[in-house]
């Protein structure tokens, strides 16, 4: 699968700025953004990204609830979701995967490594 467009969902605008620069300039992808789970679902329906990179703890609708709704919608349920979260501890990764995410990347992340990490997760799932 070739990644061309990534949807970045995070309530922190600074993180979105850094994420966008990383995904665009290092990954070479186009980026669309949303500030919470609800906006993220709407954006996913509208933009049909190749990957969704989504924060866990957000106002209005958190990452878990948004993922559940994405998985319910046949239009977007096949878009792989990677969680980008500060709450990464042993045990929590497998918990997130059990919700239906294909992988978890912890915060703080390295913006130079981020696109490679996403590629690796997506490739691993496709195997």
């Amino acid at each position: 699968m070739t990644i061309e467009k990534v949807l970045l969902v995070d309530d922190d605008p600074d993180i979105r700025t850094i994420g966008r620069m990383s995904l665009q300039k290092v990954g070479g992808w186009s980026v669309v953004e949303a500030a919470n789970g609800q906006e993220g679902i709407e954006m996913a329906r509208q933009e049909k990204p190749d990957v969704i990179l989504m924060d866990m703890m957000m106002p209005v609708m958190d990452g878990r609830a948004a993922l559940a709704e994405i998985l319910e919608d046949p239009d977007i349920s096949r878009i792989p979701v990677v969680f980008l979260t500060a709450k990464v501890q042993t045990g929590e990764v497998s918990e997130y995967v059990s919700y239906g995410a294909i992988g978890v990347i912890g915060k703080p992340f390295d913006p130079i490594e981020l696109p490679a990490q996403i590629r690796e997760i997506v490739a691993r799932v496709r195997e």
Binding site: D14, I15, M21, V26, A86, T90, D110, P111, I112
Partner: protein, 498 residues
């Protein structure tokens, strides 16, 4: 009650109560033969006898049976209501065996006929009286000491913060302290004779089982939640222990309210987790921005700016490590550190360890080499957590190794466990610092700013290794460096040994 005296040598203080002068003279003479320094008080009637005896501190009283105004037996009975120590020798000329029995029942020490008023007879009666008096005084003394001791212990028990109780092997309460009332809501009289299980369910529901277990193990502790009427649920720490008495074994109960401790722990848990999470978000922004700037993704930056950004990056990295360590330490302290052990190839594990730490090592001009002794080895461990342990030990080794030296990672099989060694050529650890190495913030070296660690790496490593059932330690070789080692089980259920 008279104070104790050494009757054989001390001066004797005697009282004779007798209306017959001839008898008094005979008695005085006989006493004189027995003791030259005796002080003798004489009463010729029963009128003041009781008050004199009770107030007189006499070593022995000779009391006549028939006095003109009173009955000697009645006088003795009155005296014994207040004083059971002063020896009273009853004497009479008209006695018989039945009278003697009455006297002894009323509390007489001895009984003698007036015909026995010889120095030998009186001497014998006095010696015996002294012995009885001394024995009674000694008994009084130990009773007093016992009572004092008991009230002392009772005061301690009643003022303890824990509710303390004693139950028999059927779980029936024999004794409780005052704290039981404030803690459990039952007064002492409401507790005694009741079943522990009825008053405080969960503490001693099956006394027979608990009793057998306590005799086997010597004690046990557990926690229960108690819902008091109209109150919040209370967390109780219960300790049960056997109490051996001369005649039986009882069950001791110690109930401690640990609700506050648990609330505090939960609060601390939440606090640390929120703080570290809230800190992570801004740190992510700072770290990400620096990395993007350093990579030149927002235009070129000159040498000096690069240096400054590199300082930012390095310190931001330290902050991240510290946050991770604080979270790990908090999880360890709360007993919530999770490990996911699995079968791991040791050779591959070490290669990954070298790959993961090579960048830091080469940056310091240090070579990192690894070797596995004795063919392919497997360990049963959480690879992520074990890499964290190796990373901590390797990072310490690099910190203290001179540039151009080598840090060696070795693995060997060692009776059911795998022993890992991380050897450096650093200055070593002084023996007096050995105890603090694995303590929190127990750094033993003066660090330069760039060598300063979090002080949590080794205690976290120790906890992680011990969570796997292994051990951790180090050996310093004089001026030739330090070898840190740890063990992990080779197989599932196996214990690492030293």
């Amino acid at each position: 009650m008279p104070a104790g005296k050494d009757h054989e040598t001390a001066f004797l203080n005697l009282l004779i109560v007798d209306d017959d002068e001839a008898d008094r003279i005979a008695l005085r003479r006989a006493v004189g033969k027995f003791s030259e320094s005796a002080k003798i008080t004489e009463l010729v009637s029963g009128k003041d006898a009781i008050a004199t005896i009770l107030g007189g501190d006499f070593d022995c009283v000779f009391l006549d049976y028939k006095l003109p105004d009173a009955d000697g037996l009645e006088i003795l009975r009155d005296v014994r209501e207040h004083d059971d120590v002063t020896p009273v020798v009853a004497f009479t000329g008209r006695g018989n065996e039945l009278v003697a029995v009455d006297w002894m029942k009323a509390g007489a020490t001895d009984y003698m006929s007036k015909a026995m008023l010889t120095p030998d007879g009186v001497g014998m009666a006095l010696r015996y009286a002294m012995k009885v008096r001394d024995a009674r005084l000694a008994a009084h003394k130990s009773e007093t000491a016992l009572a004092r001791n008991e009230s002392f212990l009772r005061a301690i028990l009643d003022n303890m913060q824990d509710a303390i109780g004693v139950a028999d092997s059927d779980g029936i309460i024999r004794s409780v302290n005052r704290r039981c009332e404030t803690l459990m809501g039952y007064r002492e009289d409401e507790c005694l004779g009741k079943r522990v299980a009825d008053l405080c369910p969960g503490v001693l529901d099956e006394p027979a089982v608990a009793f057998a277990e306590l005799q086997e193990t010597g004690g046990k502790s557990f926690e229960i939640e108690v819902q008091k009427e109209g109150g919040r649920p209370m967390q109780l720490e219960v300790s049960l222990f056997p109490i051996e008495t001369i005649s039986e074994t009882l069950i001791g109960l110690n109930l401690r309210d640990v609700s506050a401790r648990q609330e505090l722990a939960a609060l601390q848990d939440t606090f640390v987790s929120i703080v570290s999470h809230e800190l992570r978000t801004p740190v992510t922004s700072i770290y990400g921005s620096i990395k993007l700037l350093l990579a030149g993704l927002s235009g070129n930056i000159d040498g000096e700016a690069t240096n400054l950004l590199e300082i930012c990056r390095r310190n931001c990295q330290r902050l991240i490590l510290l946050l991770n360590d604080i979270l790990d330490m908090q999880k360890i302290q709360a007993g919530k550190m999770e490990i996911a052990p699995m079968s791991v190839d040791v050779g591959e594990f070490l290669r990954e360890c070298v790959d993961g730490n090579d960048g830091i090592a080469s940056g310091e001009g240090i070579e990192l080499v690894a070797s596995v002794a004795g063919g392919p080895l497997t360990m049963f461990a959480d690879p992520v957590r074990m890499q964290q342990v190796v990373a901590n030990l390797v990072s310490n080794a690099i910190k203290f190794s001179p540039s151009g030296s080598t840090v060696t990672l070795r693995a060997t099989a060692n009776s059911g466990s795998i022993r890992f060694e991380i050897a450096d050529n650093g200055p070593g650890i002084l023996p007096e610092h050995a105890d603090v190495v694995f303590e929190r913030f127990g750094q033993v070296h003066e660090h330069t700013a760039d060598k300063k660690g979090t002080g949590l790496g080794l205690p976290i490593s120790k906890a992680l290794v011990e969570a796997h059932g292994g051990a951790i330690g180090f050996e310093t070789i004089d001026s030739a460096g330090t070898v840190f080692w740890f063990t992990v089980p080779e197989r599932k259920g196996g214990a690492g040994d030293n």
